[in-house]
Structures are given as structure tokens and as C-alpha cells.
């Protein structure tokens, strides 16, 4: 058989094929189907015990899924199956008490699962904008829907951040402020720039009290502790959430589909239609986009696939490298220009507003520029998109890092507040651009399209809008430490953004003509947000470890901000032993060792993943060989049923002359050579006897054998020939 050719064997699960076939045909009536399912489930011993633990196992399944839920049968069927299961369980119940520990463990896991279900139900019932997003998806397709999902998820995240910050940091400060009076003039430009009356307000870091807050009653609230610990724990918590979300998205959209990217036609046919489309216009567009993609694929397939010469490939590679270098140089140049701009001390009033305005415009226009640049390069469409996203992400993160570096290096007396003011201005001006300016542009384009339908229809630019969201989120991560109310501002901004973008899309945009693959792009966007948070964590963390501002803020009493932990909480000056332990742990050697072990663990995981991938490859090839097996056996069955019998009843012992030998060698060759090895059946021992038998054979078998032996997969020690007819033939001689 073809599959015996391969030198390795893999473990094959025994399946009761007849049962699966019966299930699949669906011809059996429902009762019999239920019986089949129950029989299969009965084989799992754990499910069948009669005690409350197994009852819950039957309902919830060992891996937190309902064992019944995963069956692709209708509800009626599942109910029947469950009834039958319970019936058969009560039939063979043996009351075996399980240990208290196990029962407790199961109870806890089921309670957790139930709790998780309830929480997700609760979240679903209070999900905002559910109907609105559904309407948009129906009009525009699931890609635009994915943008609004992203927006909604970020909004929820920011809202949570804002609420926690308000509770723990802002409100105590406000209570403290009520004790002292404050006056200050606030002009409009002050509102935009954050200076003047706003400078010393709850908005910015510099205002926060450095000691205890006592408002009423005997309780005191230590401001530095709360500020520090709130910030650290919130950042770490959100970092964990983002990592989890990114990893989940990456696993679903990149890893699980490995190996499936080459089935372009099949994917197009089976996953081309977006089942969520509701409007007729979008459906017509979907149909025509599928049509266009088919034509494209066909033409690509039909044209002669010329393998590019080495020169051409090298040329393309060189162009890509050069353009990437140019883009990196452009970004570096922009940062340098920014530095010069910031360092320029002019007499112009409100110089900071101009700088922030310039930054906002650069960040708003660069994605479009990168989009144009990437067309010069030689990338596939999807890779071009990722490259553009990565470059824009790089620009955003480097701009923000440059701002951070500038303000920490500058000599202004309260640089934290200055940085907070900078981020506040950035958010405000970007709100101006994205909430007012861009929608105006979109409406104008929509209006022009209405007047002149021949010009290109304005489509909802998912990439650009998603990048705006990522930029805002990155600014928030940087600014939340220095300006706690920024979280509230950004949450509010996202709220308004949802409604504005929805109106824009509904009134001014047309559904996209090309189908946009949203799933993998979402993963890249999550990665960008996580990366920006990581960079912020890293830079702010290193800042906190080194020093703190002595003139303002809640940490003036500590030489280093980290002192909040070391002196305030752990009281290290009073505990030299603990201090020695900690200083040992933070030595470079220890850190390097930890880092090295992390690298080893990563390498191990990667090696395991690679091994599993090659295993998948092997199994895939086995699948193909099994199919060839099936073909081979079906042909053999065909032949047998046509009257050609492989085995004859064994003749009496004859003298060991050529007849018996021929009989042994020709007819009694077993089909499973693996069972026992007989040297007479080896190919080479028969080679000399073969030629003279060739001409005694009837014609058709001879042809069969020729064809078989030319097929490289067939084991040529197999030969059907010489069965009954040949034997008769030789015996007659």
C-alpha cells in the first residue's frame, strides 16, 4: 500500500468509521443517531459516573465547554442525547465516593465557569452601540465593523482607566483643594495651551499634594503612595490585558491558519461572501468585488508564470531596502527638526501651541505620505499595508519619545507638568483635526461625489482611522502619568468620535469596492497599541528609577520616585538586611541571569513549535497517502469482485519442485508483507524466474502489471497476477 512506503509510523487513532459514516449520512433516523452519540459518549468513563460531579462534567465538559455543545446537531437532538445519557447513567450507577479535595476542586472550577458565563452575559447586556455597529456592518461589511469594534474596545479601556484614576487620585486632590482657596484667570488660549490659570490645577502633575490629605474625619490619605501605586498598578494591569488580547488575536489569525494561505480559490469561494451584509447596495458591491477578484486570480493563473531572474529579484530587494532607509532617514530628520523647534526660544506668544499644531499636522499627514511611498516599492498588497502601519507606528512612538526626552533634559522647573501640558495640547488639537476638520473633508468629498458620480466614490478609510486611534492611545499612555484627567478627555473624545465617524460613514461614504481583510490587520493594530504601552512603561519606569523633580509634584519628599516604595513602604533605611537582599537582586548579574533563562525558555518553546509544525506537515502528507491507499484498495476490491481471487485453498504438500515454489511465490504472497518476512518473497530472489513467466500470462494482467510497476508509489513486490488463472495455466503444463 502506498502509505507503507514511508519509513516512519505515526500513531493513528482508532475510530469507529461505521458510526461516523452513519452520523454523516443523516439518513438514519434521529433516534438511531442519538443512540450512536450516546454510545460514543459512554466510552468516556469519567462522564458516566453517577454523582453530582459527573453530572456537572456532562453538562460542562472537562475543558470548560459543554460536552454536548460541541456536537453539530440540532437542539432537539441534544436534548434527546442528554435524556438518554442520564438514563444510561442511572442504569449503571455505582456510588463511589470521591475525595473531598477532588470534589472541592471541581466545585471551584465549575463555579468559576459559571461566574465567567454570568460576567460575559452581563457585559453583553450593557454593551453600548450594539445596534449601531450592526447597522454599519450591514451597510458596509464586516471590515468597517471591525474598525468600530476596535474603537469601542479602546473606549471601554479608557473609560475604565478614567474611572479608576478619578476615584483614587483626582477626587482626594479635589477634596484637599477645597481647604485652600485658589484663584486664577483663565483665558481661552490658556485653555488650549494649558498654561496660565490651568497650570496649577488638578489637571497636571505639579499640583498634586506631596503629603497627607485630610479632608474630613480622622482618616488620612497619603497622596504620594496613592499616586504612585495607582499609576503603576493601572499600567501593569492594562499591559497584561493588552498582551492577552494581542496574543489571542495573533493565535487566532496567524498561527491557526498557517499553511492555508495557498488555497486562494477555495478560500474565495467558501469565505468570499460576507454573511453579515444586510443592504442591497452592499450585497451588489460584494458580488462585484468577488467577481473582480475571481477575474484577477484567473488572469494571474493563466499568464505564464515567469520566474523572475536573479537580477530582477535583487533589483526589487534593493529598491525596498533603499526606500526603507529613506523612510527611516525621514523619520529621524523629522525628530531632529522637532528637537530644534522645541529648543527654539522665540518671542512669539504661545509658541508651544504652534509646536503642538505642527506635530499634529505632521502626524496626520504622514500616513498618507507613507501610503504613496509604499506604492513605489515592490510588496504584495497585504505586506504593503503592514509596512505602512509599522512605519506610521514608528513615527508616532518616536515623536512621543522625543518629546519625553526633550522635556526631561530641559531645565524648566516643573518639567513633568510641562510634559503633561504637551500631551494635553496634542490630544486637544488632534480632536480638533479628527472631530472637525476631517469630517468636513469627508462630507465635501461625499457632496462632490453626489454632484458628479463619475469621480471616485469616497470610501471609509479604515487604515487611516485606525491609525488615528492608535496615535491617540499612545499619547494617552504617555500623558496619563503626568496629567491624570487626560484619560477622561480621551474617553470623551472616543465617545464623540464614534458618533462623528458613524455619521460620516453613513452619509458620505460608499461601501468599499475591494474586499478588506480585517482579521489580520486587527492583530497588527493591537500589537501597535501594546508596543506603545510597552515603550512608555519602559521609559517612564527608567525615569522613576533615576530621579524626580524636586520642585513640584507629589514626590518632592523623595530623592527618587522609586523611594516611595523603598523608603515609604518597605522602609529600607531601617531594615539593612532587606536592603542588602534587594540590592543583590538588582545587580546586573542577577538580571542578566534572569534574562538568559528567559531566552532559553523562548528558544525551547520555539523549538517545540517548530517540531510540532513539522509533525503537522508529516501528518498532512500522511493524509494524502491515505487517500492514495483508499484509491489503491478500491481498485483492488474492484478487481477481486471481478472474479480474480487472491487466495486459493492451500494445496497438499508437494515435492519442493518448481510448482510449489511458483505457487508460494506467486499466489501465496500476503497483502500485508509486514506480518512476517519470508525471504522467498523478496523481489530479487524472484527476478530470474520472472521473465519466462511473462509470456504465459494473459494479456490484460500483463498490462496491468506494467502500469502498476511504473507507478512509483506501488510496492512492486505486490502482484495480483498469477492468481487462479495463472495457476491453472501452470498446472496444466
Amino acid at each position: 500500500m502506498p502509505s507503507r512506503q514511508i519509513p516512519y509510523g505515526t500513531l493513528r487513532l482508532r475510530r469507529s468509521n461505521s458510526d461516523s459514516e452513519a452520523l454523516l449520512t443523516g439518513g438514519a433516523d434521529s433516534d438511531r443517531q442519538a443512540d450512536i452519540i450516546v454510545r460514543e459518549m459512554e466510552q468516556l468513563q469519567r462522564l458516566m459516573e453517577d454523582n453530582p460531579v459527573s453530572e456537572e462534567l456532562r453538562r460542562y465538559g472537562p475543558k470548560n465547554r459543554e460536552a454536548l455543545r460541541d456536537l453539530p446537531q440540532g437542539l432537539t437532538m441534544k436534548r434527546t442525547v442528554r435524556a438518554k445519557l442520564s438514563a444510561s447513567v442511572s442504569l449503571r450507577s455505582k456510588h463511589r465516593p470521591i475525595s473531598f479535595y477532588k470534589r472541592l476542586k471541581y466545585r471551584i472550577s465549575f463555579a468559576l465557569k459559571k461566574g465567567r458565563d454570568r460576567i460575559s452575559e452581563l457585559i453583553f447586556s450593557i454593551e453600548p452601540w450594539h445596534e449601531a455597529i450592526r447597522h454599519l456592518e450591514g451597510q458596509f461589511g464586516s471590515a468597517v465593523g471591525s474598525y468600530f469594534h476596535f474603537l469601542r474596545w479602546l473606549f471601554a479601556l479608557n473609560l475604565l482607566l478614567a474611572i479608576l484614576l478619578l476615584c483614587f487620585v483626582v477626587v482626594p486632590q479635589v477634596l484637599h483643594d477645597q481647604g485652600n482657596n485658589r484663584t486664577g484667570s483663565m483665558g481661552f488660549l490658556d485653555f488650549v495651551s494649558g498654561k496660565g490659570g490651568f497650570e496649577d490645577s488638578v489637571l497636571f502633575y505639579g499640583h498634586y499634594h506631596w503629603g497627607d490629605v485630610t479632608s474630613f474625619g480622622p482618616l488620612t490619605y497619603n497622596m504620594p503612595f496613592s499616586y504612585f501605586f495607582t499609576m503603576i498598578s493601572l499600567y501593569l494591569f492594562f499591559f497584561a490585558i493588552l498582551c492577552y488580547r494581542t496574543a489571542y488575536s495573533y493565535r487566532r489569525n496567524f498561527i491557526e491558519i498557517a499553511g492555508g494561505l495557498s488555497n486562494v480559490f477555495a478560500t474565495k469561494v467558501f469565505c468570499g461572501w460576507d454573511f453579515g451584509i444586510v443592504s442591497q447596495h452592499a450585497a451588489a458591491l460584494n458580488a462585484s468585488s468577488i467577481y473582480n477578484e475571481f477575474k484577477e486570480l484567473l488572469s494571474e493563473q493563466n499568464k505564464k508564470h515567469v520566474t523572475m531572474s536573479l537580477w530582477r529579484r535583487m533589483w526589487q530587494y534593493m529598491v525596498n531596502v533603499v526606500v526603507t532607509g529613506a523612510v527611516l532617514a525621514l523619520v529621524a530628520g523629522l525628530q531632529y527638526g522637532l528637537w530644534l523647534l522645541l529648543a527654539l526660544k522665540t518671542e512669539v506668544q504661545h509658541w508651544e501651541i504652534f509646536v503642538s499644531l505642527i506635530i499634529t499636522f505632521v502626524v496626520a499627514l504622514c500616513p498618507l505620505l507613507f501610503n504613496l511611498i509604499v506604492r513605489v516599492e515592490y510588496y504584495k498588497a497585504r505586506t504593503a499595508l503592514y509596512v505602512t502601519l509599522a512605519r506610521t507606528g514608528l513615527l508616532d512612538i518616536s515623536t512621543l519619545t522625543m518629546l519625553l526626552v526633550y522635556w526631561t533634559q530641559s531645565d524648566t522647573p516643573c518639567w513633568e507638568s510641562a510634559l503633561g501640558r504637551e500631551t494635553y495640547r496634542l490630544v486637544l488639537l488632534d480632536a480638533l483635526v479628527s472631530l472637525f476638520l476631517l469630517p468636513l473633508v469627508e462630507f465635501a468629498r461625499g457632496f462632490i461625489f453626489k454632484l458628479n458620480p463619475n469621480s471616485g466614490a469616497p470610501e471609509f478609510n479604515i487604515a487611516y482611522n485606525s491609525l488615528t486611534l492608535v496615535y491617540n492611545q499612545a499619547v494617552l499612555w504617555l500623558g496619563a502619568v503626568w496629567c491624570p484627567l487626560l484619560a477622561v478627555a480621551v474617553a470623551l473624545k472616543f465617545l464623540l468620535l464614534f458618533y462623528v465617524k458613524r455619521e460620516c460613514a453613513l452619509r458620505a461614504c460608499q461601501p468599499a469596492r475591494k474586499v478588506w481583510r480585517a482579521a489580520q490587520t486587527q492583530t497588527v493594530l493591537y500589537m501597535l497599541v501594546t508596543l506603545s504601552l510597552f515603550v512608555t512603561l519602559f521609559s517612564v519606569g527608567s525615569l522613576f528609577l533615576r530621579g524626580s523633580s524636586q520642585t513640584c509634584g507629589p514626590f518632592v519628599t523623595y530623592t527618587r520616585v522609586w523611594g516611595v516604595v523603598s523608603e515609604g513602604v518597605l522602609r529600607l533605611p531601617e531594615r539593612p538586611a532587606l536592603r542588602r537582599v534587594l540590592s543583590f537582586l538588582t545587580r546586573p548579574g542577577v538580571i542578566a541571569f534572569l534574562f538568559l533563562s528567559l531566552c532559553v525558555a523562548t528558544y525551547f518553546m520555539r523549538a517545540r513549535a517548530r517540531a510540532q509544525r513539522s509533525m503537522v506537515d508529516i501528518l498532512r502528507r500522511m493524509l494524502v497517502l491515505q487517500a492514495k491507499d483508499k484509491d489503491f484498495l478500491l481498485a483492488a476490491i474492484d478487481k477481486v469482485s471481478n472474479g480474480e481471487w487472491l487466495y486459493n485453498p492451500r494445496e497438499e504438500e508437494q515435492a519442493a519442485d518448481s510448482h510449489t515454489l511458483k505457487y508460494l511465490q506467486e499466489v501465496r504472497k500476503p497483502s500485508n508483507a509486514a506480518y512476517h518476512f519470508d525471504v522467498t518473497r523478496l523481489n530479487h530472489s524472484m527476478s530470474e524466474t520472472r521473465p519466462h513467466r511473462a509470456d504465459t500470462r494473459p494479456h490484460s494482467y500483463h498490462v496491468d502489471r506494467r502500469r502498476r510497476s511504473e507507478d512509483g508509489d506501488t510496492d512492486s513486490s505486490f502482484s495480483w497476477q498469477g492468481s487462479a488463472s495463472c495457476l491453472n495455466h501452470t498446472k496444466d503444463q
Binding site: L75, T267, A627
Partner: protein
Amino acid sequence: MGNKIVTFTEQQLEDYQVNPDLVPKRMTENQAHTIVVPVEEIEKLPELKENPFKRRICQVFSHDGSGNLTFEDFLDMMSVFSEAAPRDIKAWYAFRIYDLDDDMYIGREDLLEATRLLTKGELHPQERDEIVASVLDEADVDGDGRLSFMDFEHVVVRAPDFLSTFHIRV
């Protein structure tokens, strides 16, 4: 479609907890498994109205293959298309939907008809033949000229957008 509200017993509620985000929108029946909604009414639902496979979807989920759905069948349908349905279940039902002649294999005629429905009849027959040949070429592992469930699942489970396109939001 009336405004009658169906009240569930506790046991029924538990049975229907197939996918937690299932919220039946239109309750039209008093009895969940006897009253049958004819297929023309189902096809008028906004979620299915523009779908080229709507007739086949109704046939797959109906208890007798005719397309008329009881309330339970309707719940089945919505739960398979919802977001929380596992990938394997979606693949199984997608296979049955694309298997237009119901012989448990997606053959050439099924694929031809599917491509015709997807493009609303715009492709030439010759182009359709080429497409079908390519699909069989890519997906047919055992070489019998038609796609069994295993072939189909092999392709579809690895498609990056299967979960997002095979999804009706309730």
C-alpha cells in the same frame, strides 16, 4: 409577525443556553417546536434577504429539509451563525450549506452553482469551469473529484476570514 412573547420553562432555558449571546429577536410562535414558519417568510428577514444562499440555509436548518423552520430550528440557525459558535461547528454547517444537492460531498455541480450565486451570474461558464477546476485542484486531497467534509474542513478552518464572514450578527 405578532408581538407574542414566548415564556420558557427553566429546563428549556437551560437547553437553549447554547451560545450566551443569543438573543432571539422576533417571537412569533406560542409553541416552540410545532408552529412552523414558511420559508418565504424566513427569507424576508433582513439578515437573510441579501444572502445568495438563503434558500439552502433554510433547507439545512429545517427539520424536514423543506425550508420551513420551527422556532427551535431558527434558534439553531442563529446560534450557529453567532460569534461564540466554535469553528468546527461553523465548518460543519458551512459544508452542508455549500453541498447544494445534499449528497454529503461538494461536487462539481455544487461548486458551479455556488460560484454562479456568489457573483450573481456574471461570470462566463468557461471562467466558472476554470474556477471550479482550480478549487478542486487546491482542496481535493484524496483526488476523487469532489470535496468530502474533511477536505472542506481542512481548507476552511485555515482560512483567516472564515470566522468573520460566516457570521450573522443578531
